[in-house]
Amino acid sequence: MTLREFLSDRLGRIALWMICAGLAAVFLCATGTQPGILAILLIVFLMVFLTVNLFDFFQQRARLLELKSILDGLDRKYLFTECVPQPKGLYERRLFDLVRRAGRAMNGAVSDARASQREYREYVERWVHEIKAPITASRLICRELDGDIRRKLTAELSQIEAHVERALFYARAENPEQDCLFRQIELGKIAAQAIENHRSLLIQNGIRVETENMNCAVYTDEKWAVFILGQLLQNAARYRGPEPVITLSARPLGRQTRLTVHDNGIGIPAHELPRVFERGFTGSNGRIRGGSTGMGLYLCRKLAVFLELELHMVSQEGAGTTVTLTFPAKENLTKP
């Protein structure tokens, strides 16, 4: 609060006092008070008036600064009303009360929203587990079918599974720490699992998968790493070129391990590359090939941040895409 703001705020009051003082001076003058005495009276009045107003200004300013510093020092700003000092005077107490009531209403709204979000997440997880039973049954029933129909149906079932999987991980990504379990695991096992999960998609698209040097051990959450790798494999299959090959190779990088996933697919236009990790971004490839949700890479980045993986993508249109995943050294992990 500046002096100017204070004065303009009190402009009406100051004007009123001045008019009163002027009228009193006119009255005193008319009733025969000597001009000398009148001057002394006016000066004294002005001094008192100025002092009172200046005192008010400094007091209000100090109070506001104090409250502001309390608010600034708070981690959770909405707890402000619980931390304010004793109110000075009735007016301030009433104001604090009002703010407190507003704060409580907000807290209630926030915790309701949290609860409903948690319930929704729990429902999604339960739903995902329930839907897996009929998918499993369908897979088993498929076995009795003729070769070609079986393969087509199996591929469709795998698509359903991939969508279900994304929904599950989307729900989980909200509170990743609940499901995370860091363990030492061989990269080859993660890759084999991810390939197995998407085998019908990969086989049906005639893709050859090559793995090199995958016997390095990394320290991460297996399921999440499998999910991330699975998304990359699905993308490579969806945006494949003629004679598609996916190469998975690993190499140690100091104490870290770098996994490179390379495909010889259609690639991503340079101007779209910075946006591929955005939520819902499908790009021109997604529009042309269809079936893109804009969720896969978004989830990958979100989970990678939590797993402390470095996720990078380079691509050349018409030549292919290379994604690198750098697994952190065990001792550099900030999570248990």
Binding site: V128, H129, E130, K132, A133, P134, I135, T136, A137, R139, L140, I141, R143, E144, G147, D148, R151, L157, E161, D179, C180, L181, R183, A192, I195, E196, R199, L202, I203, G206, I207, R208, V209, E210, T211, D221, E222, K223, E243, P244, V245
Partner: protein, 222 residues
């Protein structure tokens, strides 16, 4: 015949699993009464138990301990719960393996075989396949006919094994690729053709150039 007990509350999965295991040469034993499961296990003494976690009444976790006491059978958890913590819990409770739904059938069968073999009670997996005048040693990767023998690469070995298991039948290219993927050889159609040509060349070396017949539009036949 090896007895496999299926503890699964979803009737469709239970039926299909029963059928699948029967076709694979096991004796499936599906539980339909979910009371006193440990007692049933103790009576039947199965060679392996497939245990779902989400069961009516008592869940699979608490059941596992009781089953372990009742019968010495190995237990494979089969569940749609896939949180890492569940897996650790299942294995620490004495489960021998943990498979999440929806599993692919080859994976399930491979895991069952692995656990049975580990338990010692499993069928003695023969290392040697014999068909159409060929002898194939899976561990050595050598195929022989009479006195002549030739070494095979990993891909060729798997292709030949896939054909020898189904001697006389037509095996489609797609089925061969599928079988190779089961063994973590991720090849495409072209690579299969290349490997097939090499395999035929090697078979010719040991005097059987026409062992594998191409059935146009259908696949291969040994």
């Amino acid at each position: 015949m090896l007895k496999i007990m299926i503890i699964e509350d979803d009737p469709a999965i239970r039926e299909e699993l029963t059928l699948l295991l029967k076709n694979e040469g096991y004796t499936p034993l599906a539980i339909t009464e979910f009371t006193d499961i440990p007692g049933q296990a103790a009576r039947e003494r199965p060679d392996l138990i497939l245990l779902d976690i989400g069961l009516p009444g008592r869940d699979g976790f608490s059941l596992c301990g009781a089953l372990r006491k009742a019968a010495p059978s190995p237990v494979i958890f089969v569940t749609s719960r896939d949180a890492g913590a569940d897996e650790v819990r299942a294995l620490s409770l004495g489960g021998d393996d943990y498979i999440t739904k929806p599993y692919s059938v080859p994976v399930l069968l491979a895991r069952i075989k692995a656990v049975l073999r580990r338990g010692g009670g499993g069928s003695e997996q023969t290392d040697l396949l014999e068909a159409g005048g060929l002898r194939l040693s899976l561990t050595k990767g050598v195929v022989s006919s009479g006195e002549k023998a030739v070494e095979l690469s990993r891909n060729e070995l798997q292709i030949l094994a896939g054909l020898m298991v189904h001697t006389g039948q037509i095996v489609s290219r797609a089925d061969l690729i599928d079988a190779l993927w089961d063994n973590q050889i991720y090849i495409d159609d072209n690579t299969l053709s290349v490997n097939m040509t090499r395999l035929r060349g090697k078979l010719a070396e040991i005097g059987l150039p026409d062992a594998i017949r191409t059935r146009r539009g259908m696949g291969y036949q040994l």
